[in-house]
């Protein structure tokens, strides 16, 4: 038994070894290290395919369409994007309301 015994899974969880093993394949020269936004070569295409596969895996857990998933740095950023993003959009739309002119 490893001590201290970890009873704080709500704060964070250890990465599952199978997850860590998969991640290792996307870092070094031997792996898929390309920029997923690179459109001009296979390094980029392979990385993009991996990102899109992951997007599908995330979508499936919550029964969403993969096109509805936006990557962020974590739930704090997601909360910020959702709340500031909606309020900002609404403010912008209100400012852009057409002003009618009488002729």
């Amino acid at each position: 038994m490893k001590k201290p015994v970890y009873l704080d899974y709500a704060a964070t969880t250890p990465v599952d070894p199978a997850v860590a093993a998969d991640m290792m394949n996307f870092l070094t020269l031997d792996g898929v290290f390309g920029n997923p936004a690179s459109r001009t070569h296979g390094y980029g295409w392979q990385a993009e395919a991996a990102v899109e596969n992951a997007r599908r895996q995330v979508a499936e857990l919550i029964h969403a369409d993969p096109r509805e998933i936006v990557w962020t740095s974590g739930a704090t950023e997601s909360d910020n994007l959702a709340i500031k993003g909606v309020i900002g959009q609404r403010k912008r739309a209100a400012r852009q309301k057409p002003i009618s002119s009488r002729r």
């Binding site: 038994m1 001590k3 201290p4 015994v5 970890y6 009873l7 704080d8 709500a10 704060a11 964070t12 969880t13 990465v15 599952d16 199978a18 997850v19 991640m23 394949n25 996307f26 870092l27 898929v32 390309g34 997923p36 936004a37 990385a47 991996a50 990102v51 596969n53 992951a54 599908r56 895996q57 995330v58 979508a59 499936e60 857990l61 919550i62 029964h63 969403a64 096109r67 509805e68 998933i69 936006v70 990557w71 962020t72 740095s73 974590g74 739930a75 950023e77 997601s78 909360d79 910020n80 994007l81 959702a82 709340i83 500031k84 993003g85 909606v86 309020i87 900002g88 959009q89 912008r92």
Partner: protein, 284 residues
């Protein structure tokens, strides 16, 4: 008010900029009642943001009922599901959710990656907060860290595959934990006994400060609340929010279990807690 700091602080920041925010009161179990949401809606309410599972108490709010009424009223619904995804079934369509926050590191994935579900609808439009390249359909620019995405994807796939078996195993550990502490008097349960995830247990121990108890429990890694608010020595605003007295809020500890927790560890934890609480009460 029992939301996570990520939502509370964001809303307070918006308030400073002139946005009106209505703060909702949870019930004594830490859940937000659909009626409370319905009564609090104003004509100009643009969105409602709630967490599905509270990170300190483990209680589960009835997102489906609230989602149905908000969709009917034409109000956008954002849900923080960081503590829910992979722990209980989440179906964004059935729940009538428009935006849903997700985290990888609460579900055996890496830290530093998460996602926002944005429903494909002309009503659910999100203004970018990060600009520079137009990645993620313009909503969030920045080079994608492929290994992080792969890690989150794999973790979520594994979570989906174990969504039947893992909660049942955690229920057993939870039962074992609570019955292991039955011999101890003056233990108060915080949260909901019925509507909750199995992996989080929040308890207050009469006559023992949480800080002293944690020092005594040096063989256990536990928390006196949320690590996300650990810069403060105030008692948990979540516990205060559900009407727990300051005294008992100062005596609360959160125990949370997961995939790699063993029955042996739970037995050890119980014996440690019983010993240390008994010892601390004796020297009082």
């Amino acid at each position: 008010m029992i939301e996570h700091k990520a939502v509370v602080d964001t809303c307070k920041w918006l308030e400073q900029g002139g946005v009106e925010v209505t703060w909702l009161r949870p019930d004594r179990e830490g859940r937000i009642a659909p009626e409370v949401v319905a009564e609090s809606l104003r004509d100009e309410t643009a969105m409602v943001s709630l967490m599905m599972v509270n990170n300190e108490l483990g209680c589960v709010t009835d997102i489906a009922a609230i989602g149905a009424l908000l969709r009917q009223r034409g109000v956008l619904f954002h849900v923080d599901a960081a503590q829910a995804a992979g722990k209980l079934p989440v179906d964004v369509s059935a729940l009538n959710v428009d935006l849903l926050s997700l985290s990888a590191h609460k579900v055996y994935g890496p830290k530093g990656v998460g996602a926002l579900y944005v429903r494909r609808s002309p009503d659910a439009l999100v203004e970018a907060q990060m600009h520079g390249g137009g990645h993620e359909r313009g909503m969030r620019s920045g080079t994608l860290p492929t290994h992080q995405m792969v890690g989150m994807g794999k973790a979520f796939e594994m979570a989906r595959e174990s969504l039947d078996a893992e909660p049942a195993r955690l229920e057993e550990l939870r039962d074992m934990f609570l019955s292991g502490l039955e011999g101890l008097e003056g233990v108060h349960f915080n949260g909901s006994r019925e509507h909750r995830v199995p992996g989080i247990v929040n308890l207050s121990f009469e006559g023992v400060e949480a800080e002293s108890l944690m020092l005594g429990l040096r063989h256990l890694a536990v928390s006196s609340g949320s690590a996300c608010a650990s810069a403060t020595v105030e008692p948990s605003f979540v516990l205060r929010g559900i009407g727990v007295s300051d005294e008992l809020a100062h005596r609360a500890l959160r125990f949370s279990f997961g995939r790699f927790t063993s029955a042996e560890e739970i037995e050890f934890a119980c014996s440690q807690i019983v010993d240390v609480v008994t010892r601390l009460r004796a020297v009082r």
